[in-house]
Point group: C2
Chain length 222, copies 2
Amino acid sequence: MNTLTEENYLKCIYKLSLNTPEGITTSAIADEMKTKSATVTDMLKKLSDKELIKYEKYYGVKLTEKGKKIALKIVRKHRLWELFLVKALDFKWDEVHIIAEQLEHIQSDELIARLDKFLGHPKTDPHGDPIPDQNGKIFSNHLIALSELAQKSSGEIAGVTEHSPSFLQYLEKSGLNLGNNIHVIEKHEFDKSIDIKINRKKNMHISNDIAKNILITTHEPK
Amino acid sequence: MNTLTEENYLKCIYKLSLNTPEGITTSAIADEMKTKSATVTDMLKKLSDKELIKYEKYYGVKLTEKGKKIALKIVRKHRLWELFLVKALDFKWDEVHIIAEQLEHIQSDELIARLDKFLGHPKTDPHGDPIPDQNGKIFSNHLIALSELAQKSSGEIAGVTEHSPSFLQYLEKSGLNLGNNIHVIEKHEFDKSIDIKINRKKNMHISNDIAKNILITTHEPK
DNA sequence: ATTATTTTTTAGACTAATCTAAATTATTTT
DNA sequence: AAAATAATTTAGATTAGTCTAAAAAATAAT
């Protein structure tokens, strides 16, 4: 079994590997974990001894299959708990992250299996992120950022790439919710802001900073 | 905030104080925590510095009001989570203790409040133990051990004082469930075993070892 | 292609929680 | 009441995770 800290490092490395497939740097991990590089180096040695990562000094780091499996299990637990908090306990989607960061470390395979069943074997969490299955497989329904959607075309909001409460609260206030249909009316060249129509009703103007953090599917979501 | 280990010591001291109101001994704690007396002594100093216990060398230990409040909050969380596991996730009552020991340390007052609401503000956990309220108040409906119930009198099963899976599984197999009506037909002097009738139907003979771990209320439980 | 800068690692130290062994205090026995 | 026994505390060591400061390696700049 791994310690809570080890689990958090694995999760962090997995998360970083989504954007940088090769050689995650020590400083990137230190940054994400809000700790110092020296601390990270020590932990990398430990994880390497356990064969959870492949680590070469001064080069960078990559999860092994074993490490990836553990990381995906933590992600699965995190997302199932987030959905539970929203669905069963009526939390709002911007309030659940911190609590799920604790719950994701509870050790019990039976518990995860039953939670999954309780929620009806969901495919995505409250932010639209896919929930890995028991084997760590992720159902990916190739999404694109709203900022990349062509003018005059449509899609549904399927997720977000930014999870801060302030961003999520902004979306909520603006009526931009998971599953909403979005039609791009016009894209403005100079600042990359766009005019959109939500659910064929409400018109709205949003900045590129917002648009690039909203994920769109051109098929039915969920 | 207190560490997980500190929380477990407080919970342990609280638990022991129910049977031994004054001066919990170092060795009793070491026994319960499955650790060594020297380790306990160190922790007692630490908890004493934080004013969570009153500690006098070579004498023993007692929770302060502050310490008791924290202990009761952990007990509250433990019992709410146990009930959640049984009610919502269909766990059996002998499977929930180990998982609840982890869940009880999740830090979020909002989470407890919502869990409590989700469960309908319950008064007792799946073992019949009372759930302390937000202020740490425990509703006590003065229970007696089945072994103390007089011959020819009746009551309902309201709880247990032993939580091991083997004991709970035995009860289940025998049809001795929370809320069942028990009538004492005869008490045998030589081995203190008793003959009972369950729910005015099934007759049964049980040993004193079993009877003394079953709690009875003479009024309606719950 | 040297030099300067940045990144990474090593070395040494600290805290929390634990242990064993030795010393101290309390309790029990005779 | 003194000796024997049991319980408790102290002393010193260990492991996990963290830090700062210094050394080493890699990268960037002139």
